[in-house]
């Protein structure tokens, strides 16, 4: 008859949960969606980013702002989502700027946002 330190009750035991740490890291990604007034195309960007993050299985803080406020808010963000026009107007900022060409194409958002978050 063998003796084991492990209980053979068929339930096993739960390993430590590294997911908790990963999830925390994921939720710390702060994304700023920027448009001219913060309520047209930036809302579209935010909606698309929400869908894309869901598809990618990632979590992030998403905020919407207008171009006037974006420069002041930029240092607090990890990523900026905007159009080429407004990226040019924004000029050099600390966070990586992800330029979206087609605001209603979810594939473009998933590809670009996924790559930007992976490279962080």
């Amino acid at each position: 008859m063998s003796v084991s330190a492990m209980p053979h009750d068929g339930l096993g035991w739960a390993p430590a949960q590294p997911n908790a740490i990963l999830e925390r890291r994921g939720s710390s990604v702060k994304i700023l969606a920027v448009c001219g007034m913060g309520l047209g195309s930036a809302l579209l960007l935010r909606m698309q980013a929400e869908k894309a993050l869901k598809q990618l299985g990632l979590d992030a803080d998403l905020e919407v702002t207008d171009i006037g406020t974006a420069r002041a808010m930029a240092p607090t963000a990890d990523l900026i989502l905007t159009s080429q026009e407004l990226a040019d107007a924004l000029g050099p900022v600390k966070p990586r700027v992800v330029v979206i060409t087609n605001f209603i194409d979810l594939n473009e958002m998933v590809t670009k946002l996924g790559a930007a978050i992976a490279e962080r």
């Binding site: 913060g38 702002t65 171009i67 159009s83 087609n102």
Partner: protein
């Protein structure tokens, strides 16, 4: 200014149909340049009772100061301005141009569809905007919209989309 703190949970069935009455849809509209195109979207918002004529000028001023970033997808411009006294109530308009017009956008020109958007506040239009984006993102629906013979056909396309979406 941060707008729209929350976006979830405000989708309402029929939102697009409600904000896009027949008077707000115009097909085969002639436009010589982007100003004409935006003006047509503004005129449709005025006709549906969503805005006063001043809002049209505000939409044009946005492009004059910030450039053609409102061309949000190939062939599609989203004309809008801020909530202002010129907005009577939330509304959308769709203008299909008789011939494509250049807005000066490097990738998404020329524009064939101009969507007008007016909202009295920062969030009342969010659900409708989400629906419209979803509606236009589908290539088949966009093709159908570009070839719809009349306003009734456009309205039916939108109603069909809403039925399918609400059933999902």
């Amino acid at each position: 200014v941060i707008v729209a703190a929350t976006l979830g949970g405000d989708r309402v069935g029929g939102d697009l149909s409600r904000l896009l009455p027949p008077t707000a849809v115009r097909l085969s509209v002639p436009a010589g340049d982007w100003r004409d195109a935006v003006r047509a979207a503004g005129a449709a918002l005025v006709a549906s009772g969503s805005t006063t004529a001043a809002y049209t000028d505000e939409m044009i001023a946005v492009v004059e100061s910030l450039g053609p970033y409102i061309v949000i997808a190939p062939g599609i411009a989203l004309a809008h301005s801020r909530p202002s006294p010129a907005v009577i109530r939330a509304g959308l308009s769709i203008v299909r141009l008789a011939s494509p017009v250049a807005f000066g956008h490097r990738q998404n020109d020329p524009v064939r569809l101009v969507v007008g958007l007016a909202s009295p506040d920062d969030h009342g239009h969010v659900a409708a905007l989400a629906s419209l984006a979803e509606f236009l993102a589908d290539a088949d629906r966009q093709t159908a919209l570009l070839h719809a013979p009349d306003v009734g056909a456009v309205r039916e396309l939108i109603r069909r989309y809403e039925r399918e979406r609400d059933a999902a």
